[in-house]
Each structure stands twice: as C-alpha cells, then as structure tokens.
C-alpha cells in the first residue's frame, strides 16, 4: 500500500466526474448556494427538534450535541456494493465460525493457525462461555464493519465491531432527512432503500430465540437515557415495536427472565442488549454494575434466554485478533478473502515493535481494546510531545498496541464554511446474521470535517452523510 494521489469519490484523478456522481454534480452546479445553505439550516433544526442527538463523554453532564450532518450524499454504484456485500458476508461467517470454534473444539489453535495465548489470554475471551451452545451458532447477530477506501481505489477492512456497534439509526435518519429536504434528487437516480433495516433486525433477533419459543418476546436492553447512544436504542425498539428495557425492569426467577409491567410479569426470550458483557450481570461479571440483571447469565447458560450479541464476542473484534481474520476465512471457509485487511504490525512481536518505534511519525498506532477514536496516535498529524509520550506507552506495554500505515482515506465533496471541499470518509455497513446473513444496501458514512483530518469518529468532531447505493 503505497501512498499515491488521494482517491476522490466524485472525481477521477483527471478531474472528471464519475458517472454515478453526475446527477449530484449537476444538481450542485445548478442549485444556488443560498438555497442549499437554507436547507442545511433546516436539517439542523429538524435534527434538534426530533432530538437526534449524541451525548459526548467528558462533556458537561448530560450535554447533548448534534452529529453534524452533511447534505451531499456519498454514492456507490451497485456493482461496487455487490462486491462489498459478498466480502462482508464472507467475513462475518468466518468470524462467527471462529467464535463458535474457540468456545468449543478450538480447532484453529490445534491447527496452529492462531497462537493459544492470542485467544485464551485475550481479555475479551470469556471462559464462562466455553461449552455453551447457541441457537444457530450465531455469536454476532449484529456487526458493524468499518471500511476505508485507499488511494488504489480498493476497499479495506479497518475494524470489525462485533459487540454493540452503533450508528445504524443515523443511517436511517440521514436517508429520511435527505428525502425530506431534497426529494428531487431521488427522481434523478434510483437509490436502493435502507429503511427496512429494523424489520430485518427483528427477524434476526427472533431467529436467535431459544428453540422452544414459538412467538419469542424480544426486548432492547439499554443502559438508560443518559447513554451516548440512547437515541438509537429507543429508535430501534420503537421501529421494531418491542419494549426498550433498563436493567431494573428485568428480573430472573427460576432461571427465566421476566419484565415488570403494569399487568404483572412477562416472560422475555431475546435480549438485544446494548450494554457491555462486563455490566450484564453483577453476579457473574462486574459486581458494581448498576445496569445489569442479577442471575441473567445463569438464565442465559441454561438456554432460557438469548442475548444478541452473545457474551464473549469481544475476543474476535479486538485489534490484535484482526490481523488473523484473513487466515480464519481460509481456515473455516476454504476461500480467499474478498475484502483485504490493512497491513498491521503487532507490537507484541519484538520485530514489529522495532519497526513501529522507528516509524512512529508515519504510522497510526491504536490500542487493541480501544474504540471511538480514543487512545490512538496519528503519526503524521501528531505533535512531537504526543509522539514521545506514545513511545513510552509502547515500550511499557507493547502487547496493548498495533500499528498501521496512515491510510489515505478517500475523500468526498462536503459542505464546509467556504463552500464545497473534499473531506475524508469511511463507511460502516451493518451485517445481520440470523437464519442467513443479510445487509441493507448502504451503511453509515462518517466524514472528518476538519481539513486534512483522518479521524471520522463523532466523538472527535466527525459528521455523517447519507450513503447511496445506486443502480
């Protein structure tokens, strides 16, 4: 992966507008800037009124912010999407096989494809899950896979999110907003729909139910209204027509889970939980958890309730496991990976560490357990003192870090103060694994609004765009 000229989603290197972007380019040319600015203000107002906000950790208590929404869509031709679709399905299938394997026969270790300490010594590995059989053997019912497009025009997988990936509500709300603000754009192109995601999610969750249940009761478990992703929890529960519960709404009797209602207790079969493993059950995991349900894990092990995602998926989306995913695909599916990984140095290997320390100024260094853009170093934009302090961290605990080349994320035209300018984007499609593996055509496009910035996380000042797959 060498650095070449940046890949722009709208224009070729010769400056010509790509075919699938032509209607938007024309629209941008013929629409007065004033009208677009008005529409953008309208969008802000609507998002605020509807309450689509994002709580930012570390901000003043309960502060809610809007994630900036950019009104120029990111567009993919269907042919490109089809390849992504196949690649993601393949990847998730392998990851689910991997999770089933390491909690049962551990063939991948026996075969010498992965070192035992990488799996068994991983903080995401839950010993309690060994030998637990899940319906359909699905561990990650809902996955969010982060893709980036490099200057070679190819998509690479940057990160697998197999625990509680968020953002899908923005994918749907962004589409609704675009259709409301610019209906005329949808007449110019056939944009494939994404709004049926909640019904696909419900189908997926019902497929995870314990086999004995005929008409499973599904709930969404949230840490509560002050969680940063609360809007999404509420949104999904409402769209699926299921209850949104907090830990205190649930209790366990005789190894079964119930919720407290105005007409007494009601049995619960599937919990789409949006809280981490550690907080699920104060009796099984963290004792200080106020968010969980005592004895929930016992009910789960007894097979009386399903959790989606399963307990223990963290071992598979950890950044130190990531480099092995292509090998998993070869090992379990006997196929070549369709989507490539970004080359990764694992600092736990002395040779890799030496290379990383020598090249800190050009690399991106990430904590293996980190997420949300916290705890990472972007070499080319970091200050000298940041690099020095990271060097110390790396030497002290090399196994905590991986490093990757600084990717030349593709750019997409975006509204900025001075008009329209290219900004870096990534793409997170959501993969649902139930009776079969499914995706809606699209995902969440995140955009780094600061010029030159490569960090797209909403917690770090990133925005979002509607993502169009067009025929």
């Amino acid at each position: 992966m060498e650095r070449r000229q940046l890949f722009d989603e709208m224009r070729t290197s010769a400056g010509e507008v790509r075919e699938h972007f032509r209607p938007i380019a024309e629209w941008l040319k013929e629409t007065p800037a004033k009208r677009v600015a008005e529409k953008r203000r309208e969008a802000d107002l609507l998002f605020h009124r509807v309450g689509i906000t994002f709580a930012v950790y570390g901000d003043a208590a309960g502060a809610e912010r809007l994630i900036p929404f950019d009104t120029i869509p990111r567009i993919l031709p269907k042919s490109e999407w089809d390849e992504i679709d196949r690649g993601l399905k393949q990847r998730i299938e392998a990851l689910n096989r991997f999770l089933d394997d390491i909690y049962h026969g551990q063939e991948i270790i026996k075969a010498g494809v992965m070192p035992p300490e990488q799996v068994l010594g991983n903080p995401g590995f839950q010993k309690e899950m060994v030998g637990v059989d899940l319906p359909n053997r699905i561990y990650s019912s809902v996955a969010g896979i982060d893709l980036v497009r490099h200057s070679d025009g190819k998509y690479y997988v940057l990160e697998d999110n197999l625990r509680t990936p968020s953002g899908v509500s923005y994918m749907i709300e962004n589409r609704k907003m675009m259709m409301r603000l610019f209906p005329e754009l949808f007449e110019r192109q056939t944009v494939l729909p994404v709004e049926h995601y909640p019904s696909m999610l419900l189908e997926t969750l019902r497929a995870a139910a314990p086999p004995r249940t005929r008409d499973p009761v599904v709930v969404v478990l949230t840490p509560g209204q002050y969680n940063s992703a609360y809007f999404e929890h509420a949104f999904l529960a409402q769209q699926m027509g299921v209850e949104l519960v907090e830990g205190a709404d649930l209790f366990v009797r005789d190894n079964s889970v119930y919720m407290r209602t105005t007409s007494g207790r009601q049995r619960v079969d599937v919990i789409y939980r949006r809280i981490d493993d550690a907080f699920l059950d104060p009796k099984a995991f963290r004792k200080d958890s106020m968010l969980g349900v005592p004895d929930l894990f016992a009910a789960y092990r007894a097979g009386n309730v399903a959790l989606a995602n399963a307990v223990g998926t963290g071992v598979a989306d950890d950044k130190s496991t990531y480099p092995y995913v292509p090998e998993m695909i070869r090992f379990y599916l006997k196929q070549e990976p369709i989507l490539q990984n970004v080359p990764t140095w694992m600092c736990r290997n002395p040779k890799d560490l030496a290379h990383v320390l020598e090249n800190l100024a050009t690399l991106v260094v990430k904590e293996v357990q980190g997420s949300g853009g916290y705890g990472m170093l972007v070499g080319p934009t970091a200050s000298k003192s940041e690099i020095t302090s990271f060097r110390k961290l790396l030497k002290a605990k090399p196994e905590n870090y991986i490093a990757q080349p600084t990717l030349a994320l593709s750019t997409c035209p975006t509204f900025v103060k001075r008009g329209v300018a290219p900004r870096h984007v990534d793409l997170r499609p959501y993969v649902l694994s139930g009776k079969e593996v499914k995706l809606v055509p699209g995902g969440l496009t995140r955009v780094a609004l600061k010029e030159g910035s490569l960090v797209v996380n909403s917690s770090q000042g990133g925005g979002t765009k509607d993502t169009w797959v067009v025929e």
């Binding site: 009124r49 509807v50 309450g51 409402q238 007409s263």
Partner: protein, 311 residues
C-alpha cells in the same frame, strides 16, 4: 406496559398540566395586582404560593412578596421543583426516557417546548411579556394534549397519560377554588350576594370558565354558582366532576388488575355525581375541598403502588 414506562408517562402528563396551571395562576395574579386596595393586592400575591403549597419554601430565601419575585420563583426558578421551568424540564426528561412509547409528535412537542423555555430570560417577563409567556405555556400545553389525543394509540400509554393530566387538573381546580374562595369571601353571609366583579371573573378566567359561566347561568356572578360550575358541572372540562369522569374511564381501561385504586376512583366519581352544592355549602366548602384534595392524594398513592412500581 413496563411499570417504569407507565410511571414516566403519568408524570410527563402531570408535569405539563402543572406547568399550564401554574401559568394560569400567575396570569390571574399578574392581573390582580392592578386592582384593589393594598391589602387585597397582598392577598392576591400570596394566593399563588398558597395554592401551590410553596409559601414555606418561598420565604426561606425571601422576605417580601412582589410580583417580580413571585415570577422568578414560580416561573423560572430551577431550584423550585414546581416552577414552570422545572415542570417543562421534567415533562421533557420523562418523555425522553419513554420516547419510543409515545408518538414522535408528542416527543417533538415537549422537546421543542423545553428548547424554547431554556431561552426565556428574566427580562422577557416584564409587563406585557409576562402575559405573552403565560399564553405561550398554555398554548404548548394545549398543543401537547391535542397532539397526544390526536396521535397516540388508545392503549396503556394513553390511559396513564390521561390519568396524569386529569388527576393534576382536578387537584389544581380544587386548590384554586379553595384558596380564592377564602380570599374573596369577606364573610359567610356574603354567600349568595354579588361580589367584586373583577376578582370573580379573574378566578373564572383562570380556569377558562368565564364564558361558560355566562352562557350556562346568564346571571350575575354568585359564589355558589361558581362552586357548582367548578365542582359539579360535568360539561365544564376543568371541573372536578369532569376530571373524575376521565379518571374513572382511564382507570377502567387499564389492563392491570387492582382493586384499591380502581375502587377509590369509582367512589370519588360517584360522590361527585350525587353531590348537591347546597349541602356542600352547609357542611362547609373548605372542609369539602380539603377532603377532596386528601382523597386525590390517596388515589395518586394507590395508582403509584398498583401500577407504577417502585418509583
């Protein structure tokens, strides 16, 4: 429905209704300070504190009752849990917690109200600004009720929302009548006599009953008829009888099984149906209203225990 959710919906509606009532009470006070002697002015200023049971807290930090200080405390004070500011804040907070169980229109109404409330400054509420603010609060409450009525599924959420609204309203009507009656009636002998026109019309207006009074009785304003209208007149939407009709209906429709709360609501409704205003006056209006307020408090407690869980 989850008990926690029912609890939030119940309080969301109560708080919105409370904000509206507070605006009504303050609206009358702002009007009344323009009339009367120094003494009646002071009484009129004290009335909002008595009605809302917050005189003690008020005097913890303040000595004098002026309209400005009253506004600050009852309209804008974030520390006062029954100020309009706090009511709108908590109505929105409760809606936020259950926004998936209410319609998006309901949520948007409360959220927008709160966003606008946060922008209100002390300086906006001087003179005509105060009246404008009260009208705005009433409008938002009307809008919320209308939006609720027009959009929500007739199920548990609707039932608990109605319970919250009408229990709060009944309580408020009883309190307003009780306090104002006390203030306005120089002596018991005056019952039946024509009294200070402005004071009484203000009381009627505070519960949107002035035009109703005129069209129903086509007469001068007599205290006993005011009481009849606000307590027993079922066609008058802020009367105790009308509120209890709604409360009993909502209680009957609640799916959960419970005897204590449903029975008490039925009893109170029956009492209002068969009451006679002359008898109420004979036994003492104040005593009657005091008992009503206590009974409603008990009903609120029973609803809380039967359906709304631990909160």
């Amino acid at each position: 429905m989850l008990s926690r959710v029912a609890d939030r919906i119940f309080w969301m509606s109560r708080q919105m209704e409370r904000a509206e009532n507070m605006a009504r009470i303050l609206g009358v006070a702002s009007n009344m300070v323009l009339f009367g002697t120094k003494e009646t002015r002071e009484q009129n200023l004290l009335a909002p504190l008595t009605i809302t049971d917050s005189a003690e807290r008020y005097f913890e930090t303040r000595k004098l009752v002026t309209f400005d200080a009253l506004m600050e405390f009852l309209a804008l004070d974030p520390q006062n849990s029954s100020s309009i500011y706090s009511c709108l804040k908590w109505a929105r907070e409760n809606a936020h917690a259950v926004r998936w169980q209410i319609t998006s229109e309901m949520w948007e109404t409360l959220n927008t109200t709160w966003i606008d409330m946060k922008r209100v400054r002390r300086a906006d509420l001087v003179g005509a600004g105060a009246t404008k603010f009260f009208d705005w609060v009433k409008d938002r409450s009307h809008l919320f009720r209308g939006v609720t009525y027009g959009t929500i599924l007739r199920g548990e959420a609707f039932n608990f929302s109605r319970l919250g609204t009408f229990l709060e309203r009944a309580d408020n009507t009883a309190r307003i009548l009780d306090v104002k009656y006390h203030v306005l009636l120089p002596s018991v002998q005056d019952v039946g006599g024509a009294l200070d026109y402005y004071q009484w019309t203000a009381l009627l207006r505070s519960v949107s009953a002035y035009e109703t009074y005129r069209s129903l009785y086509r007469d001068q304003i007599f205290p006993i008829k005011v009481a009849q209208l606000l307590i027993l007149e079922r066609r008058m939407p802020r009367s105790l009888a009308a509120c209890f009709e709604q409360i009993t209906q909502a209680m009957e429709r609640i799916e959960g099984q419970d005897r204590a709360a449903k029975r008490l609501a039925g009893e109170l409704n029956a009492r209002l149906t068969h009451a006679d205003i002359a008898e109420i006056f004979q036994d003492g209006l104040h005593e009657y209203l005091t008992e009503c307020i206590a009974d409603m408090h008990e009903l609120g407690g029973r609803i809380q225990r039967a359906y709304l869980g631990t909160a």
